[in-house]
């Protein structure tokens, strides 16, 4: 070994690699093209197709798609039947989000700042464990709990509060949704709370703030991006659900998703289903813009 730098003609691979190293734009476009193509073809194109379908109709006699442009579907959408269903879905999504935030905040605070490392581990497991069970199994468990003569009713009778029968109501839906999506709120809130430096809390105390004041002026504002990030999950998941309304809802419990399902599965009216599915897309678009403005994406 007399020379340290061995002068060797460059092989094909090496030349390609060198060219890529020199031209960053080439490297970037080669890396990004496959996923971008996938994104454009599979995701954006199908969305665009759906948007287009919303302006078509189905011939009521033959049930065949008619490619003539019309606003019939949108006229139908803005009738009281569908506006009520949209409002109900939105209301439930908001209610579930608020409920989960109220539960998650103190819970995540305890996990992040009070519990011992071992306790924290246990709590984390407890929060995430239900996600290992099937969604359906958990919903069915709630049916057993809430139905007439079920576990909840039995427990109330044991303590002398009389039987309760809230199975197959919107209250039941609210409980089940709040339970099912709770982990999706706790985790981001925990992330936000864990990042608050101790010094800020100490400073607040040094300046004479009591616990409540510290919570209100320091902890909640700093946890807010986490809450908003979690609310994106709870809100959008509730907004798009149709299984829980089907299984635990009663009468007057249809969601946007149920009407979409009926129009595809039963009526074969794809255009109206497409029109309806634009509603959650628009709602989530507005919601995400609002969330971005509040800086929530930095906490994701």
């Amino acid at each position: 070994m007399s020379t340290i730098r061995e002068e060797r003609p460059m092989g094909g691979m090496a030349r390609v690699s060198a060219a890529l190293w020199r031209r960053t734009w080439l490297r970037a476009s080669l890396t990004l093209t496959p996923p971008l193509a996938w994104f454009l073809v599979i995701y954006i194109a199908s969305l665009a197709l759906m948007l287009v379908t919303a302006f078509w109709t189905v011939n009521p006699f033959t049930n065949v798609l008619e490619h003539s442009w019309t606003f019939t579907n949108f006229d139908q959408l803005f009738t009281s039947t569908y506006l009520t269903i949209i409002a109900r879905t939105l209301e439930m999504a908001a209610l579930v989000t608020v409920t989960d935030a109220v539960i998650a905040l103190p819970f995540a605070y305890y996990m992040a700042r009070v519990a011992s490392p071992r306790g924290r581990q246990l709590l984390f497991t407890a929060v995430l464990l239900p996600l290992w069970a099937s969604y359906l199994a958990r919903v069915y468990a709630w049916i057993v709990i809430l139905q007439k003569g079920g576990t909840l009713s039995w427990a109330f009778q044991q303590v002398g509060l009389g039987p309760v029968n809230i199975g197959y109501t919107n209250t039941a839906m609210w409980l089940v949704f709040s339970y099912i999506w709770l982990p999706f709120m706790i985790v981001p809130v925990y992330g936000a709370l864990e990042r608050i430096p101790d010094s800020l809390l100490e400073a607040s105390g040094d300046l004479g703030a009591r616990a409540w004041r510290t919570a209100r002026s320091v902890i909640v504002p700093l946890a807010l991006p986490g809450i908003i990030a979690g609310s994106i999950f709870t809100f959008s998941l509730t907004l798009g659900d149709f299984i829980t309304p089907l299984l635990v809802g009663g009468t007057n419990s249809q969601f946007i998703g149920n009407v979409i399902y009926d129009n595809i599965g039963t009526a074969n009216n794809l255009p109206f289903a497409a029109t309806l599915s634009l509603v959650p897309i628009v709602i989530m678009g507005v919601y995400l813009l609002g969330a971005r403005a509040s800086g929530a994406f930095e906490a994701l």
Partner: protein, 400 residues
């Protein structure tokens, strides 16, 4: 036809969506859009039928309800005929119709369509006439299932009737000491909050059937062919029923748990729910009230472009035999179409023949109005009926 409005903005959207349109034109449903003849003629009515069943093609592709191609009877069939059976199980009637588009696409041979899909398939030209002379057991079928209006048009059979069942009135025997005699109990304030009916637009036909007897002035003769005023009356009745309903049930298991827990005491159900609940010793019984009942009836229909017609004919003949009819009736929970199946059913499961009403007299079956697709054309050329699409829209309004 729905009134259609034109908007100026549509032009701008067409331009904006031009790229997407290019993609759209290659999807199959769009490509085949022009094939359906609007109106009343069946496009495949004059296709030739075979005069004998030839040698099997070695394979058979089915679109069937889950449970209709069980190994218990598929295995022996494969052994007998050499036709390897592949089955696809869709979830809804509309899925069946989509899968059968373009005559089964040269891929599927048979579909076990229910009455609410049959006419859609026939008038779309997706199924073809069947020669009943090649189905020996056809003569053993109940007379009312040999040439029913939901699968036979102008003397041409577009399939062989398979199994069926009524939508019965299920009730709690603790609440009802004697069997209710009228569907009026599910429209009565007396059982407010304890009633359940299926979450299915075809339920409008149940209301229409009740109205055909309770309000003869409306002139309802066929609950699936409703003029706008008749349809409005049925919808109004269902809207008035809404406050009484505890739950519009989606799955049979849901209704079973509703009755088991005593949450509901009366409702519309299938015989399957009753037999399952009775097996669990729940205090329930069922009846067909004096107004009659609606019901479903399935048909093995032959795809217009069936690639394996010989195997398909062998399957239709096989599935019509008393033995297989009995096996399916007991395993699926419905009534066989073959009159000879009853004795075999009892051999498989004691009492199941009576349980699924396979031994009832003709007068019992006359009370069942079988599902068929509500068509705008009324199937009689009058063109003043409410089409199925509007049934679905109205149903969304009813259940809220």
């Amino acid at each position: 036809m729905k009134p259609r409005r034109r908007h100026g903005a549509a032009g701008a959207l067409i331009a904006a969506a031009a790229v997407a349109m290019a993609v759209v034109s290659i999807i199959p449903s769009a490509a085949s859009a022009g094939r359906v003849a609007a109106g009343l003629s069946v496009p495949t009515a004059n296709l030739p039928v075979p005069s004998s069943i030839g040698k099997g093609e070695g394979k058979l592709n089915l679109i069937a309800w889950a449970g209709y191609a069980q190994p218990e009877w598929v295995k022996p069939f494969e052994k007998q005929t050499g036709c390897q059976v592949n089955a696809k199980y869709p979830n809804t009637s509309s899925d069946m119709v989509s899968l059968m588009a373009n005559g089964g696409g040269g891929q599927y041979d048979l579909v076990s369509a229910s009455g609410d899909a049959d006419l859609r398939l026939i008038y779309a030209g997706d199924v073809r006439p069947v020669n009943m002379a090649l189905i020996p057991s056809w003569k053993q079928l109940y007379p009312f299932l040999q040439s029913p209006s939901f699968n036979t048009i102008a003397g041409k059979h577009y399939g062989v009737s398979f199994e069926f069942g009524p939508n019965v009135l299920l009730y709690n025997t603790k609440t009802f000491k004697t069997a209710p005699t009228s569907w009026s109990v599910i429209y009565s304030n007396k059982y407010k909050g304890q009633v359940t009916v299926p979450d299915n637009p075809i339920q409008i036909a149940d209301a229409a059937l009740y109205l055909s007897k309770s309000q003869p002035k409306l002139g309802i003769t066929d609950p699936y062919e409703l003029t706008q005023p008749q349809f409005n009356a049925a919808v109004a009745l269902l809207k008035s029923e809404h406050p009484l309903i505890k739950k519009y049930w989606d799955a049979a298991s849901q209704e079973i748990s509703l009755f088991q827990s005593g949450t509901t005491v009366v409702g519309a159900a299938w015989p399957y729910q009753e037999t399952t609940l009775a097996a669990d010793k729940a205090p329930v019984a069922s009846t067909i009230p004096k107004e009659g009942a609606t019901g479903w009836a399935d048909t093995w229909m032959l795809a217009a472009k069936a690639p394996d017609p010989n195997c398909a004919y062998k399957w239709m003949a096989y599935m019509s035999t008393p033995q297989i009819q009995a096996e399916d009736a007991d395993s699926y929970g419905e009534t066989p179409a073959n009159t000879q199946a009853c004795a075999i059913m009892d051999k498989i499961a004691k009492g199941s023949c009576a349980g699924y009403h396979a031994n009832e007299p003709q007068s019992y079956f006359n009370t069942i109005k079988f599902w068929k697709t509500p068509l705008g054309t009324c199937d009689n050329g009058k063109n003043d009926c409410v089409p199925f699409q509007s049934w679905v829209t109205a149903w969304t309004q009813i259940i809220g």
